[in-house]
């Protein structure tokens, strides 16, 4: 604490600055205040690049994570769903990722509390006032070392002066699978089955597609071949069912959500409270999600000089999770089961014929995987105006999360046999932050304005994970048995601390020229003494051209501003304590043991990103048309990268600062009021972002994980694999093309090449809002273009009958006999491993009607007569229409390996591997205000 005091005292000695004003926003035609770190700025004052999303745009979407609601709404922000499983996380990339090995997710700051828990996903969108996305260095440098991937500021709603207001809303939704894949019919499967047996027996030369059809249609399990041989096809006559596995695992999913807010206040005190409950079923059997969320905000003016704000957000979620995408037992894997087989619910859902194939329904019925999360974000801020133009702010925040994951696989399941298998994972994160800052603002005369802010911050976060596993059939039994009879992983605690000083100076000359200098000095416990501190400055300037005399009278141009910024922000490694030698604790033969976990790496330092941003903001015709254009160039140097080292060190890789990565791009926004009259209005908004990402230097080292790569001169995660160019007509073997243009049937020897890019060329959204009296129609069209997807699901689902699995219907058109011209190779019964190639690489571009809402506001006269402030009913649809060439269920999902490291997650992009799709949801709801 003494240390904290010394920061504040230092700050107190110094000059300071200002806070908020209300002006227009950039992304929205509605005039709003723009929140920036430790304050807010007007549109004229703002020199950084900030996107704003209005809270009212978020609340009606039937999704469980708030990030999902911001998809397509802000330029420079690429929101991607990891899957259609509920509550499993969303990836948010602001202007491309800046790191290869470290997190590329932005820093989330909720009411001033920088989170390290992931709690932001559990905030009810109904309680959010606004979201500001700080995209360039100038806007984000005040968050210094964690701002390299941008900062998302979430401001929650506060009460306003007046009598008690009660808002209530309820929504009911029905979700469906977004599409149905065209899979084998039972007959087509049985033909494959016959082929599989004949090829196993070496009767390849008897196979033609016609013969297979005839043999199958004859209904006999003994086949007379043309060469006189008679072959009995075992169990063929039992494969007489017709099971639609997609219908067995997908379902109509219901959801309910309700929310009540009570707010109000006096001159002195204002309050806002909210309570919401969400219950959503997943479209795959076995997946559902419940969340309870409570919130209190209190704002008080204790005197002319002294005010406070207090907020607390609690959430509790219970998620019945599905197995991981690649695990047997993921319900979606049922789509490769034979359609001519069936299962027996009385025999643990085993398949009746091909009983060695695992039916995921066994897992659904005899296993559970419940994740229970309690999260809390709390904040208390005090503000004291020392002078009229100088105030002192002190705030403290906490961010806690407690997650318990109970996974139980019964003896009936594949992994649980024979005794049951229980796993219990627990994780606690405790994160707190204390900020103190002085705020100063002085108008020297009518044309010179200076404001300054200076402060310090201390943040500390610890995460305490634990894991235990035993072969028992209940979680309570697992908790009770002695520790020697279970596998316990002593997972090292994670922990870090930041001590920081930050400041910002703004100078405004006549509202025409504005300058800002901001910076943050961060010290992080993640580095050794030599490299502990990093200074992250940013400078920016803006020219409000429309305030110049030559434009001030223009009737066309109502607002025009040119701005530019340059700055440096940082990033830290995910792992803690890497600068020193650390040992893990473990056990051997019942004795305590320690093992070296890492070699001391005292030279490790901050990854730093230099960013240039040039932007133009415009407002035309009384701001009926407004928007912005910006260009940026970010260069990340001293990339933290795992460099391969001699294995005699005991390690495969060591994290070192090496290499360079560049992201550059262009963003365009336009918002228009196309028509406006008291009864009718029509507004549109459009945003599009282009990002180009290239690894410019990696010290000559490449990293390849699966089909993705980090390679010099290529985009991050560039697809690197063998190029499939068809099927050799004489043999039915797959052909792969080498770099020199020659082809080969030997997969192993074929050259691997960069064949695609998982990152989109551009993405964006288009919104429309049409109002006629009380009726409003709003819709959002969201698009992503130029990215490739590796449909890894196809390695099993569309692979010429590999392992004799059920296939997509297009595999009927495979090679059967010499001379066949087709793009699907012959069925090879000996092939058990898949050979990744461009055979399954697809264009991932899509345009999607993300959300459409038709609402009706009951007439004011009517509602006020019955004592209400407003009443609104609506119907809405989510993901109603998707235009894409992608053959899978959903182009907007991305397989995430739960055991993968951050680097695996960063490199593995654009891969779909039995990844559950997002639902198409129809909902109805109402909102009432009293």
């Amino acid at each position: 604490m003494r240390a904290l005091l010394c920061i504040w005292l230092t700050s107190l000695l110094l000059i300071p600055r200002s806070y908020a004003q209300q002006v227009d926003s950039v992304d929205s035609p509605i005039v709003k205040e723009m929140v920036v770190g430790f304050g807010s700025q007007s549109r004229e004052e703002l020199t950084g690049s900030v996107s704003q999303i209005d809270g009212s745009d978020l609340s009606s979407q039937p999704v469980v994570e708030f990030e999902q609601t911001s998809q397509g709404k802000a330029s420079g922000v690429l929101v991607q769903n990891t899957s259609g499983k509920l509550g499993e996380g969303t990836s948010v990339l602001i202007r491309g990722g800046t790191s290869l090995s470290s997190s590329n997710q932005p820093l989330y700051v909720v009411d001033g509390v920088p989170l390290s828990s992931g709690n932001q996903s559990d905030i009810d969108p109904n309680n959010i006032q606004s979201i500001e996305v700080l995209k360039d260095a100038s806007a984000s440098a005040i968050y210094g070392s964690r701002a390299a991937n941008g900062v998302i500021l979430i401001t929650t709603k506060t009460g306003t002066k007046g009598s008690v207001k009660v808002d209530f809303d309820y929504q009911f939704g029905v979700g469906q699978r977004p599409k149905k894949l065209n899979l084998y019919s039972a007959d087509e499967y049985n033909q494959q089955f016959i082929e599989f047996v004949l090829r196993t027996l070496g009767e390849d030369d008897q196979i033609t597609q016609q013969n297979l059809e005839q043999w199958q249609q004859s209904g006999s399990s003994t086949i007379s071949l043309n060469n006189g041989n008679s072959v009995s096809i075992p169990v063929l006559d039992s494969l007489n069912s017709n099971t639609d596995w997609q219908d067995e695992v997908f379902r109509t999913a219901l959801s309910h959500r309700s929310n009540i807010n009570v707010s109000g206040g006096s001159d002195q005190h204002r309050y806002f409270t909210g309570l919401s409950y969400t219950n959503q079923e997943g479209i795959l059997v076995g997946n559902d999600y419940n969340r309870l969320n409570g919130r209190v905000n209190l704002n008080s003016d204790w005197s002319d000089r002294f005010s406070s704000n207090f907020s607390i957000n609690y959430s509790r979620s219970v998620n019945n999770r599905l197995n991981e995408d690649k695990d047997l037992g993921n319900p979606l894997q049922a789509i490769v089961l034979p359609p001519s087989d069936s299962f027996d619910p009385d025999n643990n859902y085993r398949l009746n014929v091909r009983s060695l194939e695992y039916n995921p329904l066994t897992e659904v019925h005899f296993a559970k995987n419940i994740s229970t999360t309690n999260g809390l974000i709390g904040n208390l801020g005090l503000k004291y105006a020392i002078l009229d133009n100088l105030s002192l702010n002190i705030d403290g925040g906490i961010d806690l999360i407690d997650n318990v994951q109970e996974r139980l696989q019964g003896p009936e399941t594949l992994e649980g046999a024979p005794n049951g298998l229980a796993r219990l994972s627990e994780s606690n994160t405790f994160n707190y932050v204390v900020n103190g800052y002085l705020d100063f603002e002085e108008d020297f005369d009518s044309t010179n304005k200076l404001s300054a802010l200076i402060g310090g911050s201390y943040q500390r976060s610890t995460t305490d994970p634990a894991f235990r596993l035993a072969e028992v059939n209940s979680i309570s039994e697992l908790e009770d048995i002695p520790t020697t009879d279970q596998r316990i992983s002593i997972l090292p605690d994670l922990g870090f601390a930041f001590v920081s000083a930050f400041g910002r100076i703004n100078y405004n000359l006549d509202n025409r020229y504005v300058f800002q200098f901001s910076g943050r000095l961060d010290g992080s416990s993640k580095f050794g003494e030599e490299n502990r501190y990093g200074f992250f400055p940013a400078f920016s300037a803006g020219w409000n051209i429309s305030n110049e005399s030559f434009l001030s009278t223009s009737s066309t141009i109502s607002f025009l501003k040119l701005k530019g910024s340059f700055g440096i922000v940082g990033n830290t490694p995910d792992d803690d304590f890497l600068f020193q030698t650390n040992y893990f604790r473990t056990f051997y033969g019942g004795q305590e043991a320690i093992r070296l976990s890492n070699l001391a790496n005292p030279d490790l330092k901050w990854e730093s990103t230099q960013q240039i941003d040039i932007g133009l903001e415009y407002g035309l015709f009384d701001n009926k048309v407004n928007g912005s254009i910006s260009y940026y160039n970010k260069t990340t140097s001293d990339l933290l990268f795992p460099v391969p080292v001699t294995l005699t060190s005991g390690f495969d890789f060591i994290l070192q600062n090496i290499g360079e990565l560049e992201n550059k791009g262009f963003e365009f926004n336009i918002n228009t009021v196309n028509y406006s009259s008291p009864d009718v209005s029509w507004q549109t908004g459009f945003n599009i972002s282009f990002n180009d990402n290239e690894i410019t230097d990696l010290g000559g080292r490449d990293l390849i994980v699966g089909v993705n790569s980090f390679k010099e001169g290529e985009s991050t995660g560039a697809f690197f694999m063998r190029e499939f160019v068809g099927v050799e007509p004489s043999t039915g073997l797959a052909l792969y093309e080498n770099e020199d243009g020659s082809t080969t049937t030997d997969w192993e020897s074929a050259d691997r090449r960069v064949v695609g890019n998982p990152n989109p060329d551009f993405y964006g959204g288009f919104t429309n809002s049409l109002t006629y009296k009380g009726v409003n129609l709003e819709f959002l069209i969201q698009f992503v273009s130029g990215n490739d997807i590796y449909n890894q699901t196809g390695e099993f689902l569309s692979n010429s009958g590999i392992q004799n699995l059920g296939q997509s219907a297009d595999q009927v058109d495979r090679w059967y006999e010499p001379g066949d011209i087709t793009s699907n190779p012959a069925l090879d019964p000996s092939q058990v491993n898949t050979f990744p190639s461009t055979r399954w690489l697809e264009d991932g571009s899509y345009v999607r009607l993300k959300n459409i809402v038709l609402s009706y506001n009951l007439p004011d006269d009517f509602v006020s007569n019955i004592g209400m402030r407003f009443a609104r009913v609506y119907v809405s649809g989510q993901n109603l229409l998707t235009i894409t060439d992608f053959s899978g269920y959903d182009p907007d999902v991305n397989f995430v390996d739960p055991l993968g490291s951050t680097i695996d997650r960063n490199i593995t992009r654009g891969v779909v591997d039995f990844t559950p799709p997002q639902a198409r949801i129809y909902s109805v709801g109402f909102k009432l205000g009293f």
Binding site: T462, D485, R595
Partner: protein, 489 residues
């Protein structure tokens, strides 16, 4: 000017606050470790953890706890005739049964890395061992650390190097790392040491360890003086230094610390060391080389019990008894308890119900599974007294090949009679060389699938099928991940 002052003051403030960044990790032990006896003791246990290939969620089943046995066993047998390998469930080991080991083979790489990880922790212990106050503890920990290093370098050189004494003793083989690497800056591209240098180092380590550990008897489950002698004997045998083999084995037998179990089957599947285990890898529920959920480890590949594994290692009945089809099999006589088979097993059979040496493979009832390593919670014998007896018999004979020595015959008969076979007499041998054949056959019967046969074939200049066991294809390659960083270049 003011900005400048601001910055200066900020720096002062922050540096004054430096101490609050000194946060202590929990659950791991950072920086100043290995400064006292307790830490060094736990670090030593940690090297056994590695030596046994205990599963840590990423790796598992390497070194003495698994792969040194599995890789050698697969290399030493002809696929489908001698043993059958489940290529689907055991695909990461297919290279070994195929005798075509890719430079990128993941098992070769993980064993290589883990061996050097273990050696580095040993080297770190040796560099800090003087921090232990008690000289008794210091000697013991130094002794065990040296023993572990000696064992590993010996096991590595016989897997990654050519057979000793075949003209390649001075050729470069593997890196010999003797200094600790504690900082990233300590990492250097290593030089390859010659076969001879590695053997000499392993011998020096084990001899020093044997002396240091002499006062500690059986030394719990750790490496003891006898274990060092047993390993020195193995090494001398590999180098055909038969006099040394006889010396070391005789000392072990005279120590009286170990005795053969009455029943051969009692030497396996025990929760703690058997009376004949000279050294064994400890496995418990909480820490083992892997199980069904980890998908690694000896039991996972050897056992087909529903509770343990997938039974990837399979054999046929004719391999056990038929010398017409399989020339290289153990040819168990009917009375031999080492050749007993349980056909009455099914998916519900548990390890305690298996009281035979083999049982019907539960996942594929046309083949058999060996019953030596049934579960992942029993100890894995690394070197047993039975092997010591067989080594001595062979060494005595080899020193004087024309003569059948009574001690050697008695050593052999102890193994035979324990298995239920009759004791042989001099009249059973038409010529002295038949005595050597009997020893080889008994080694085969006794040590089947324990990973020794590949090394026996190499020193006997034998064959796997029709290919000489000294062919380079039976030598593990230095992994490509290693050579890519410049090693050996």
């Amino acid at each position: 000017m003011k900005k400048f002052i601001v910055l200066i003051l900020l720096f002062i403030a922050s540096y004054a606050c430096d101490s609050i960044l000194e946060i202590e990790p929990d659950g791991i032990i950072g920086a100043d470790v290995l400064k006292n006896g307790e830490d060094l003791e736990r670090a030593l246990i940690g090297t056994y953890f590695n030596l046994g290939g205990i599963s840590d969620g990423i790796d598992g089943g390497e070194l003495l706890g698994g792969d040194f046995i599995i890789m050698s066993t697969l290399l030493a047998h002809v696929p489908n005739i001698e043993i059958i390998w489940d290529r689907v469930n055991g695909f990461s080991y297919n290279n070994f049964i195929d005798k075509e080991i890719l430079l990128t083979n993941p098992r070769v790489q993980s064993n290589w890395r883990r061996a050097y990880e273990t050696i580095n922790q040993v080297n770190t212990i040796l560099a800090n061992v003087e921090n232990i106050e008690s000289s008794e503890d210091q000697n013991r920990i130094r002794g065990e650390a040296l023993a572990i290093r000696g064992v590993l370098y010996f096991e590595m050189i016989r897997l990654w190097g050519p057979q000793y004494g075949t003209g390649s003793d001075n050729s470069a083989a593997i890196p010999l790392i003797l200094d600790p690497i504690t900082e990233v800056g300590d990492i250097e591209t290593p030089q390859l040491a010659s076969v001879l240098t590695v053997y000499d180092q392993a011998e020096a380590d084990l001899e020093a360890a044997q002396t240091l550990l002499a006062p500690f008897g059986k030394n719990g489950t750790g490496l003891s003086s006898s274990a060092c002698q047993a390993y020195l004997a193995r090494m001398a045998l590999q180098r055909s230094d038969f006099a040394a083999v006889e010396n070391f084995t005789s000392e072990i037998l005279q120590s009286g610390n170990f005795s053969l179990e009455n029943d051969f089957l009692d030497a396996f599947n025990n929760v703690s060391n058997s009376s004949e285990d000279i050294f064994a890898i400890q496995q418990t529920v909480a820490s083992n080389t892997g199980d069904r959920s980890a998908g690694t480890g000896l039991a996972f590949y050897y056992s087909s019990l529903n509770e343990s594994g997938l039974g990837a290692l399979r054999l046929t009945l004719f391999f056990l008894i038929d010398d017409e089809i399989v020339s290289n099999g153990p040819i168990y006589p009917l009375a031999d308890s080492r050749g007993t088979i349980d056909f009455d097993v099914d998916i519900s059979t548990t390890s305690s119900q298996i009281n035979t040496a083999y049982y019907k493979n539960i996942l594929n009832n046309t083949v058999l599974s060996p019953a030596k390593f049934l579960t992942s919670t029993n100890v894995i014998p690394v070197i047993r007294l039975a092997e010591v007896l067989l080594m001595r018999a062979e060494a005595i004979y080899e020193q004087n090949p024309g003569v059948i020595n009574n001690t050697a015959l008695s050593d052999l008969n102890q193994i035979r009679t324990r298995a239920g076979l009759t004791a042989l007499t001099l009249s059973d041998f038409a010529s002295p060389s038949e005595f050597m054949d009997a020893i080889r056959l008994e080694r085969r019967r006794e040590l089947l699938f324990e990973g020794q046969h590949l090394h026996d074939l190499k020193r006997w200049d034998g064959f796997v099928g029709s290919v000489s066991a000294r062919d380079p294809k039976f030598i593990l390659p230095i992994p490509q991940a290693e050579t890519d960083t410049g090693t050996g270049g």
